[in-house]
Symmetry: C2
Subunit: 139 residues, 2 copies
DNA sequence: CTATGTGCAAATCTTTTGCAGGCTA
DNA sequence: TAGCCTGCAAAAGATTTGCACATAG
């Protein structure tokens, strides 16, 4: 982990009043260490952290990702019933989901324009608008 | 099950070359017997069929719903990581998801207008566009 | 009759939880 | 020190699967 990545990870955690433990720093470094947005699954992140040599249990990865979400640092994105993805980008934006690889990426928000939304039922308000563009490899 | 519902269920199954077994007819009657669209979970449908007096195992409900999807009679909608919903309506249309009750309903397609979509990556085409409007009860 | 379905229980897979011990502030 | 964190293993759900039996065409 570079000094810059360490710094970024620490300030990311302190933004949410989360203690900079060894495990959280290791995970944060993989998530925001380079300043890019990430879309990870718990298992994928666990594999990634193990391959850096750090030891973090899978249960802690789950608990930590959930803690990051609760703290408002990430959001959970549901794209297929079997796995959850965790996204470091917090604004409402569309996603591309590649059906062949299962990969999830941000879709440029610029290209999406929603002109109107269906009328929301009485007594409710919009919590979030999820847009997933499912992509299939062209034959 | 009314004669009309039985008829509708049978023709719905035959549309997809699925044999009209007792279990499939019981499930189909609940799904399309009245001509309305339905959004069900496997467990919810299982409860419903049991309450009509028919006996169908939960595993068969799962297998049958999956068979209906494979046959192009329904589509699976993923709205939160923990459960799958199965929708008898086959066109691309937005959904309302009520966070308090977990209920899923169709949102009027009329109200949604998408002006433009992000450019699709080279070599891929859009398989489906999922739009889920998450609703929270107003305080 | 033969290929398809079905039921049941056990297996899988992802995610959560309980609890004893560890570590940050 | 006090309270928050972590690890592990076991629990909890949702869904799938293996296999023997049943049934539609």
């Amino acid at each position: 982990m570079t000094p810059a990545a360490l710094e970024r990870s620490k300030s990311w955690l302190s933004k949410a009043d989360l203690r900079p433990t060894r495990q959280r720093l290791a995970l944060a470094a993989l998530l925001v260490g380079d300043g890019e947005n990430r879309h990870v699954t718990a298992e994928g992140l666990h594999d990634a952290v193990l391959s850096t040599g750090d030891r973090v249990s899978l249960a802690t990865v789950y608990n930590t990702l959930k803690a990051f979400c609760d703290a408002g640092l990430m959001q959970e994105v549901t794209v297929d019933g079997s796995r959850s993805y965790f996204d470091t980008r917090m604004d409402d934006h569309p996603h591309f989901h590649f059906e062949d690889s299962g990969q999830l990426t941000d879709a440029p928000l610029a290209g999406l324009a929603i002109k109107a939304l269906p009328e929301v039922p009485e007594g409710y308000e919009i919590a979030r608008l999820d847009v997933v563009i499912r992509l299939r490899r062209k034959r």
